[in-house]
């Protein structure tokens, strides 16, 4: 029998651990990654000629980052590694890739989707101005290029990334004008029992907030964003928000990073025809999978934050577990005991992730009160009022129908940054439960392709 062909999409924590398991089983998996270097976003590697040490780049996670990178470096001779390659479709039993202007269609016996996550965004009036970035983007700027996104920076939203980015910016010497957290302290107290599933990570989070206080950074909890101030030419000039006690305040700045935890990149699972279910805890539609990572489609496996946001440590465990499941399904011998132990690890990470979702809730109610003149879709400049108007005129109460009429979710980012907020706005405006609004369908190509693309010659 020919060696089974395993394709792994993504070279972050889950993709790396999946590849390692396949190599250990004597196989040579294909690892396709969009980035120039491995590591994914969380353990993104700086360019070759940068010299900052691991401790400076990854803080408390430096050891994990280094081990993961060294693992991937050690696998390079044993895998078919294709960096700077986009998987833009999964159809007809093939993975369709584009690298530069060259496209390929590759068949597979097992496909592991380790596609990672992007920031989850709740729009704020003015977020189209130059100088407004995603929180993850602000971190990438520092981690991979050693720059701050501005001269005076405000970080706003919720989730562990908010405090991590803030402390990394302060430590690197950036001027952080304020940290504005939309989640109230009371949510953190309620989440404590679940957060205790990972005491050391919880402690890291507490230490970060203490470090910010020591550095004299203003940290406000339970805020309501009002407006990112700015103008069309020079971009962001400040931010207005209401404090937890309802007082309106303004902070001057030339850059704002916003984000509310993360959302999984599920478009490829969608194109592979995996079934999705609504997850009430995160108010997101997620691809279904069994405890080992098997999707509803035979031969397609899901791991890491691309399946559900459970964090980088969980991604390493679920990547390995999904690969072992794939190997077992292909009839190869696997260590069943290890699979049981990995399942336990993932369950513990899931408990912690549930705590994080409770401590840093998605501020869904903000979509309902987004002013009519606020931009909802950054790509095409569609306002909240435009979408409400379309709903009134057409009666559209379903995400894809509303998209067709309003263009919300049809632009360059394909709904990655407006889709979840648009669904909340539709639900609030129509009185329909969010799960009935549905989800934007994944569309190929999942990212824009060059027009001059062709087969390899």
């Amino acid at each position: 029998m020919a060696e089974p062909r395993i394709i792994i999409v993504g070279a972050g924590p889950s993709g790396t651990r999946a590849a390692q398991a396949c190599v250990a089983a004597g196989l040579r998996p294909i690892v396709i990654d969009e980035a120039r270097r491995d590591g994914g976003q969380i353990y993104r590697r700086q360019p070759d000629n940068f010299t900052r040490p691991y401790a400076k780049l990854y803080g408390t996670e430096a050891g994990r980052a280094q081990v993961l990178h060294e693992t991937f470096d050690g696998l390079k001779g044993a895998i078919d590694y294709r960096p700077e390659t986009l998987v833009w479709n999964i159809a007809g039993g093939h993975v369709w890739t584009a690298s530069g202007t060259v496209q390929k269609a590759m068949p597979f016996d097992a496909l592991l989707l380790c596609t990672g996550a992007t920031d989850r965004l709740m729009p704020v009036k003015g977020w189209q101005f130059a100088g407004a970035y995603s929180l993850g983007g602000a971190q990438v700027a520092l981690k991979s290029q050693a720059v701050s996104i501005g001269h005076k920076v405000v970080l706003m939203g919720s989730g562990p990334l908010l405090y991590l980015v803030a402390s990394q910016y302060v430590e690197a010497g950036a001027d952080v004008a304020a940290v504005l957290d939309t989640s109230p302290f009371s949510a953190r107290v309620k989440a404590l029992p679940d957060l205790l599933a990972m005491p050391s990570v919880l402690w890291n989070g507490v230490a970060l907030t203490r470090a910010l206080k020591r550095a004299g950074v203003a940290v406000h909890l339970g805020v309501t964003p009002v407006e990112i101030m700015g103008d069309a030419e020079s971009g962001v000039s400040g931010i207005r928000f209401r404090t937890g006690s309802g007082k309106e305040e303004t902070v001057r700045c030339d850059a704002v990073a916003i984000g509310h935890h993360l959302r999984p990149e599920t478009q490829l699972a969608d194109l592979a025809r995996c079934a999705f279910t609504f997850d009430a805890g995160t108010r997101q539609w997620l691809p279904e999978r069994d405890g080992d990572g098997r999707s509803s489609v035979a031969g397609v496996y899901l791991a890491g934050d691309g399946a559900k946001i459970l964090g980088a440590r969980s991604a390493e465990a679920s990547g390995r577990l999904a690969a072992l499941a794939a190997l077992a399904d292909l009839g190869l011998p696997v260590d069943k005991g290890e699979m049981t132990s990995l399942r336990g690890d993932v369950a513990n990470y899931a408990k912690f992730a549930r705590g994080l979702a409770r401590a840093f809730p998605w501020p869904s109610a903000q979509a309902a009160v987004l002013p009519d003149d606020a931009i909802l879709c950054r790509c095409e400049g569609v306002t909240a009022g435009d979408l409400r108007g379309v709903m009134r005129e057409t009666g559209a109460q379903e995400a894809n129908r509303a998209k067709a009429f309003s263009r919300v979710g049809m632009g360059r980012c394909q709904g990655r940054y407006c889709g979840l907020a648009a669904a909340e706005l539709i639900a609030a405006e129509s009185g329909v439960p969010i799960e009935q609004v549905g989800r934007l369908r994944g569309q190929a190509p999942v990212k824009p392709l060059p027009i001059a693309i062709g087969d390899e010659t």
């Binding site: 700086q46 189209q128 720059v147 996104i149 501005g150 360059r412 824009p448």
Partner: protein, 101 residues
Amino acid sequence: MSRFVRLGETDRPPITLHVDGAPVAALEGDTLMVALLSAGGTLRQSEFGPEQRAGFCLMGACQDCWVWTESGDRLRACSTLAASGQRIVTSQPGASWPNHV
């Protein structure tokens, strides 16, 4: 005025590229986005609104940071390395988008 602020790693060889015809000094290892926003405030004009744009996600997901080569190839500034001799333009060659201001 620059938008981005360099906080380290400045001991790299300098490079020079051209943006809209003017020379821009950058460092080897910079992405196009960092090169352009360390020298200026924005990357491009929005096609749908009055405002200038300067990218958003920095991880290749939002596509807000497109710039072009003078010959018309589209580049994602956040994931393309800057290089000496590059000739970049910040509006799509040959395209005309009347903005609704």
